[in-house]
Amino acid sequence: MNPTLDKFLGGKQGAIGLAVLATLILVVFPLALDAFRLNMVGKYLTYAFVAVGLVLCWGYGGILSLGQGVFFGLGGYCMAMFLKLEASDPESTKIQSTPGIPDFMDWNQITELPLLWQPFHSFGFTLLAVIAVPVILALVIGVAMFKRRVGDVYFSIVTQAIALILTVLIIGQQGLTGGVNGITDLKTLMGWDIRDDSSKLILYFINAFLLFGCILIGRFILASKLGRLLMAMRDKEERVRFSGYDVASFKIFVFCVAAAFSAIGGAMFALQVGFMSPSFVGIVPSIEMVIFAAVGGRMSLLGAVYGALLVNYGKTYFSETFPELWLYLMGGLFIAVVMYFPNGIAGLWESHGRKWLGKLKRQSATPAKPVPVATVPAPNSQPRELESTP
């Protein structure tokens, strides 16, 4: 196989895993689910962007960021600002004291569009800002932290503080941001109604392709020398530094990549759900996003997608079925994952699923002769190899 292609696909194993996930997301879900449920899956998949980013920076880079909601939120807010401006044309806001500005600004006695909002009239600028704003912030945080060799738990705490600061800022500046309510009632994208079932379907596929794009970029990074350096840094940072590598730059790079992925997710969220609010920026949602990656398996890019899907589906299912009890059930699920499957779904697949598949293959190869029980290797007799195909 072409070596560059191989890097993207991650070998035969990786290609099969990718194909399975692609079939699930691009074929099975759209055929099996109605428009409403499919839109919900689309929403779950926006969180998968964050989880994929976390696999890169936490699973491989060893940088546990508890503030990914910041980047998700910034991406989402940039997109929401563009959509809100479009929804606030003078005609549909003529009941306000100042028509033509977003409704929440009018409630806050603002009489003209603030300077910060002006450039978001342009879609091109918005697309640029969706990526650039979070990445620049990540760059500043990264340079400030990693160049000073702040790492581990201290870094996690700082990211958490940033999540809190940004939430307070957004809520406090409600004339500029919509405050606690967030930016709501988004209607059209360049005249295209994003609330229709048909446009939701299109957005779902755009979302899915962007997600696969991110996964492939992630694979490429991990398969390159950079990926191996990341793992080396995670395990023995000093050795890498003594070998002459600039450890901080690698960390900053992977942190920025994770921020960019999260921001794309945030922007797609604003498009598919139709609003953005500070409740995605704070500490709690940021930690939830880490849980997606943990449940899926923090060493597996594909696992992260399954994790985001599973946890969010669980949330929806439990809360619909047991509206009074569901938080306890979710809590129980997380505890169970951490205690019994520390490597998440992907780890479970590596340790049990693959073996089970192999057994199935062997059995079907010799169907006439039933395999005597004694010859089947006991699960524990083989050395546990947690081979990680990213």
């Binding site: 309510n181 009632d185 929806t316």
Partner: protein, 411 residues
């Protein structure tokens, strides 16, 4: 192998026949459903109508929204016991908004698109209402919203059973200016849309109508618990009235610190927009004794409707339960819906919404209410004085006030 097709064929025939009859049955039942009471495919059968209930059963807002959940259930139970609506019993699907605005939007969509409910009783905070509003307008649902709120909104798909800001504020300010000769006011609120809009209206009214003066206006983040410097400023400025719209957990800290600093009703007049019997449970009546609240309903209202309501509520949810303004407004929702459906003779959202203006309720615990063309309620505003036992003594009752969500001269 030879016998297989012959064995298979009758089975396929049988399957086909079954499928056909199923199809026919579903077509017929569709036709039976599509009588004039339901032409838009809502979840209405000949014996049952499904409605949704969408509040926070979990999270930080659960403590406030539980009263609304209970009141709506009580009302629906009573309606069912008295024969239902158009001969149909009401079935409730409850969803949890989890104090999280996106979840509210998701669940609203699920109720309207998935469950096809005929009406939804729900939401509490403005943020949750703002999150679900586009969903209700897009999917053409009907929401009964119980909380007093900032106004500046009017939707064909929402019936607002609480008061909008001018109803709650103006009568209260007029009363305190007349009764206490108040000229100077200190405005204090939590920092979000409802307090800010309320204070904007209050300031305009104080300055332009009452000829008074606002000597201070301050906002604190939601959940703030440090009010020391604010209380010092209040002591220094000595306003005739402290006018507050502090919400949630901040309330408890604010009033306890006021009392600890010696700012009690003996020295300071205070009027609040945000303390009901529910909040008083947390604050403690002794910490607020003698302060005033401006609301449309207090549990202590003395009329036969209210006596029956309080008794039924306590019989169902325990004798220690208290009933605040929003709980009563939530109780009105199902009754207003019933009246509108019966007037329209249909569950269709458009017809019910069109039939709603003009609906009167003489059995409301707060007395008499009437739905305005703008989907808000005509209601009276009362001033209650906090008692030690956590109840209010009603000291003033206004005339029926017209709802005016877009007040001219106050924006």
């Amino acid at each position: 192998m030879d016998s297989r097709p012959s064995r298979f064929l009758p089975r396929r025939l049988a399957l086909g026949a079954a499928a056909l009859s199923l199809l026919a049955a579903s077509v017929f039942s569709q036709m039976a459903l599509a009588d004039e009471a339901n032409t838009t495919g809502l979840a209405v059968t000949d014996t049952e109508v499904t409605v949704g209930q969408l509040h926070s059963a979990t999270g930080t807002m659960a403590i406030s929204e539980t009263g609304s959940i209970q009141a709506e259930r009580l009302a629906i139970e009573q309606i069912n016991a008295s024969g239902g609506i158009l001969g149909r019993q009401i079935k409730i699907i409850q969803e949890d908004g989890a104090s999280d605005w996106p979840t509210f939007a998701e669940k609203a969509k699920k109720l309207l698109v998935g469950d096809k409910v005929a009406a939804v009783f729900g939401c509490w905070t403005s943020a949750s209402r703002k999150a679900v509003l586009p969903v209700f307008e897009k999917e053409n649902g009907l929401l009964y919203y119980p909380t007093f709120y900032e106004g500046l909104e009017q939707s064909k798909n929402v019936i607002y059973t609480g008061q909008e800001a001018t109803q709650q504020i103006l009568a209260g300010l007029d009363w305190i200016a007349k009764e206490k000769g108040a000229k100077t006011f200190y405005l204090i609120g939590s920092d979000y849309i409802w307090p800010r809009t309320s204070m904007k209206i209050a300031r305009k009214h104080i300055e332009n109508v009452l000829g008074g003066e606002v000597v201070g206006e301050e906002y604190y983040p939601l959940g703030n618990t440090q009010f020391g410097s604010l209380i010092n400023k209040v002591k220094l400025k000595k306003p005739d009235v402290v006018f507050t719209a502090v919400v949630g957990g901040s309330n408890v800290a604010f009033y306890k610190q006021m009392k600890a600093a010696g700012v009690t009703s003996a020295k300071q007049t205070l009027l609040t927009l945000s303390v009901t019997e529910d909040e008083l449970l947390g604050i403690g009546g002794e910490n607020m004794e003698g302060f005033y609240a401006s609301m449309k309903y207090f549990q202590s209202l003395d009329n036969p409707n209210n006596a029956a309501f309080v008794e039924a509520f306590k019989a169902k949810f325990g004798k220690d339960s208290v009933i605040g303004d929003v709980t009563q407004a939530a109780y009105l929702g199902p009754w207003l819906w019933k009246a509108a459906v019966e007037k329209a003779g249909s569950f269709d959202v458009d017809k019910v919404a069109a039939a709603s203006p003009g609906i009167e309720l003489t059995t409301a615990p707060e007395g008499y209410v009437k739905v305005h063309d703008n989907h808000h309620l005509w209601s009276k505003t009362r001033i209650g004085e906090v008692q030690k036992d956590g109840q209010f003594k009603v000291v003033f009752e206004s005339d029926l006030i017209e709802p005016n969500p877009f007040p001219k001269g106050y924006q």
